[in-house]
């Protein structure tokens, strides 16, 4: 299937991030369509479209919206999750950077459908430039009455607050995000109650990913059937796939759901780097179980990937070649999860640390025969034993790399080194690794 540009259609326009450019490039049509209809009808449209959340879990967006009670007397808050921190994922950043009004219009449409007076965009702090683009877009939108009171004479009022996170992957998890937005440590909450009932400030809250909200705008503009022209029945629509790793042209590419991995990599990315063959890949970021070259042809949609034993996640395809060690990749990711574990649940906090220690020892040439089974067992003891999915995600590369590449682990343990054809990338740097240089801090007054 060829590329289809819906969400990314304005990406190549140099002025798409300005109000003038956006308006010229067919902006605000969705908003006008939305205001002409009843909010309840719009909620049905999104439900009918079958849109599944683009933040990773793939929960049907319309269904999520339908859980929000409309009669509690409390405001309904809309929270846009722009805390995109999953290794390999960079689709939301590009969307906000190149086309921030698309998100704003999506928010207005979604908020109107949800009768929400106020929304928050929670963007990761490292996204300073996309954040500035959004700030400027918000200011322009306010100045021209696309936000604020009585938007464009519709009688609908809406306010958006941009809120930067401060560097914590866990804040992409929806309840941790709410904690951070409320000024706390970003640690997940126990559910229920679900945010739809008691979320931000204990009010009904809808939390959607940037891409989901942007897509909802297009669906409201064009209707449910238009969206369903792409993709399989249970995963309709188009998707932004962000491809990274050892491909010739990494980047964001929009394809219909269900396009095969091979097509995306070969058509859009120019294939793997010269002289390298696909060895393993993650279909949806580092927290989704790895797949191999045998799975190169699977269609990229929620159900097909689940059938292959992995997860769609954010559609972040990380492609690695036969010159790369899967054990090193696993260690690198485990160090990431160890660093990003919020510390609330013991299996995650301690377990990832131990997995990392074992992998590091193996790569250091001191592996023991029982290590592989220990890793597998540790992963089993981490999986499903914490509040949120971070721990589950952390076990994905461990379990799947052992499943498909046990021989590489065995080689490493027996010989104490990686096979010759592999270029070492030295795993991860850890915070624990102390520099052996004398610590040089200036600002004596503070030391």
């Amino acid at each position: 299937m060829p590329q289809v540009k819906v969400l990314s259609k304005r990406y190549d326009e140099p002025d798409a991030h300005t109000l003038e450019g956006y308006t010229r490039l067919d902006g605000w049509k969705a908003m006008k369509r939305a205001f002409a209809q009843d909010p309840a009808v719009l909620r049905e449209v999104v439900k009918d479209s079958g849109l599944r959340g683009r933040g990773g879990a793939g929960f049907p967006t319309g269904l999520k919206w339908s859980f929000v009670p409309q009669d509690t007397g409390k405001p309904v808050y809309l929270v846009v999750n722009a805390d995109e921190s999953e290794p390999g994922t960079f689709k939301d950043r590009e969307l906000m950077e190149r086309d921030p009004f698309q998100l704003i219009e999506g928010i207005i449409c979604s908020a109107y459908a949800l009768n929400s007076p106020r929304s928050f965009i929670f963007i990761r702090g490292e996204y300073l430039f996309p954040g500035i683009r959004l700030e400027e877009a918000l200011a322009e939108a306010y100045a021209n009455n696309y936000l604020g009171e009585d938007i464009q004479g519709s009688g609908f009022s809406h306010h958006i607050t941009l809120h930067y996170g401060s560097g914590a992957y866990i804040c992409g998890e929806e309840t941790a995000l709410l904690e951070a937005l409320e000024g706390r440590r970003g640690q997940p909450r126990l559910r229920p109650p679900f945010p739809a009932v008691a979320g931000l400030y204990a009010c009904p809250t809808v939390i959607n990913n940037v891409e989901s909200i942007a897509a909802a705008g297009h669906i409201i503009e064009h209707g449910a059937n238009w969206w369903k022209q792409w993709g399989p029945e249970r995963s309709p629509g188009t998707k932004l796939f962000c491809v990274s790793g050892e491909v010739a042209r990494p980047g964001n590419y929009e394809f219909p759901m269900g396009t095969s991995c091979r097509e995306i990599v070969e058509e859009a990315c120019g294939g793997m780097l010269p002289g390298r063959n696909l060895k393993f890949w993650a279909p949806g970021g580092s927290s989704t179980p790895l797949l191999t070259d045998e799975h190169f042809d699977i269609p990229m949609d929620f159900d097909s990937i689940a059938e292959a034993g992995s997860l769609m996640g954010t559609g972040a395809m990380m492609m690695y070649s036969d010159k790369t060690s899967v054990v090193e990749a696993t260690l690198n990711w485990i160090r990431f999860y160890e660093h990003e574990s919020c510390g609330k649940c013991t299996p995650c906090r301690e377990g990832n640390f131990w997995v990392g220690q074992i992998l590091e020892r193996m790569l250091d040439g001191r592996g023991r025969p029982e290590d592989i089974d220990t890793l597998d067992e540790l992963a089993d003891n981490i999986f499903g034993r914490s509040f949120c999915a971070l721990a589950d995600g952390a076990t994905s590369p461990v379990k799947s790399s052992i499943k498909y590449f046990r021989d590489e682990y065995e080689y490493l343990i027996q010989r104490g080194r990686l096979p010759d054809h592999i270029t070492p990338h030295a795993g991860a740097i850890t915070d624990n690794a102390q520099s052996n240089r004398p610590k040089m801090m200036v600002g004596v007054g503070h030391v």
Binding site: K74, G125, L128, G131, S166, R185, C342, I429, G443, G445
Partner: protein, 307 residues
């Protein structure tokens, strides 16, 4: 604080502001946040230590983050980090002796198509090979940063911190150069009406009565290019929005912060870009381009003593 229905929500932006003012999350800054938000210092400290972007030691003028996550690593990110680390003679979370650069290795920065990625003050340079990385940091040291592949010239980490509070660019003539709390006036700041608790959260105004909500986080002055950090006056005014609204800084020592109901036009125009307040920022603001305390002789710098 008035940007949020519940004022505690302002904590993360306030901590970014502390970093803007002090170059790191100082003990004074923690105390100020606690005071403003009716929290204990322990509560604020607990939040500040949770997040990677809050540093507990002074940063250099620029924060150089090198991604070493795997998509960057396979394209040489680890090598870039090692080369830069060797070149600068500092490791993770350490600052060069001349105070120009704080180095860190970063977890995925969400720009994997540009691997290996270096971000300077959270502005991204893509596909930076080791040699180019050395030139980049040398350019930063000489005050001559290269053009990034995304975004604008890195403004310095303190300016970036100001933007991360989502209150727009630094305006040397406008309000917002102090957190709103000088050490002497800690108790004097009235709290804006917090939006109510769990029960009946209402939509509280954007800090001003029916004022143009653009005054809200969404960059009050979007068209303004962030001014050079030169002569950033250290005044006593609170941050609009963050400190809850308008303020009249008639006198530097008297920090009368109006609560959420203040009039927007009161937002102090006479920002009194005079001398720095000796009690607050020490010898910081009076010299140098960058108003960076760490560029000054150690004895003078940061004499306010965070301890």
């Amino acid at each position: 604080m008035a940007r949020y229905p519940v004022k505690r929500s302002a904590l993360l932006p306030l901590l970014h502001l502390v970093q803007y003012q002090d170059g790191y999350v100082s003990d004074d800054g923690i105390a100020e946040c606690a005071e403003l938000l009716d929290l204990t210092k322990a509560e604020v400290a607990a939040v500040s230590t949770f997040y990677t972007m809050y540093k507990r030691e002074p940063m250099g003028r620029h924060l150089v983050s090198i991604c070493t996550n795997f998509s960057c690593a396979v394209r040489g990110g680890k090598e870039v980090y090692d080369r830069v680390s060797d070149h600068l003679g500092v490791g993770h979370n350490e600052t060069t002796q001349d105070g120009t650069i704080t180095l860190e290795h970063a977890e995925c920065l969400g720009n994997c198509e540009g691997a290996p990625l270096i971000s300077v003050d959270y502005i991204n340079y893509e596909m930076v090979e080791p040699d180019a990385a050395i030139s980049l940091v040398e350019g930063l040291r000489e005050g001559n940063p290269a053009e990034p592949t995304r975004g604008m010239i890195p403004p310095g980490v303190r300016e970036a911190s100001h933007r991360l509070a989502a209150i727009g660019p630094i305006d040397p003539d406008g309000p917002g150069q102090r957190l709103g709390l000088a050490t002497a006036e800690h108790g004097a700041v009235p709290q804006p009406e917090a939006g109510v608790g769990a029960g009946g959260v209402g939509i509280i105004s954007f800090g001003t009565n029916g004022a143009d909500p653009t005054a809200d986080g969404a960059a009050a002055r979007p068209d303004e290019v962030p001014p050079p950090a030169k002569n950033v006056p250290i005044t006593e005014e609170p941050i609009p929005g963050a400190a809850g609204s308008s303020a009249e800084a008639e006198e530097q020592t008297e920090d009368a912060v109006a609560a959420a109901g203040g009039q927007p036009d009161e937002i102090a125009e006479e920002a009194a870009p005079s001398d720095a307040d000796p009690g607050v920022q020490g010898a910081e603001a009076d010299t140098d381009d960058d108003a960076d305390p760490r560029e000054e002789p150690p004895g003078e710098a940061d004499s306010e003593g965070a301890s």
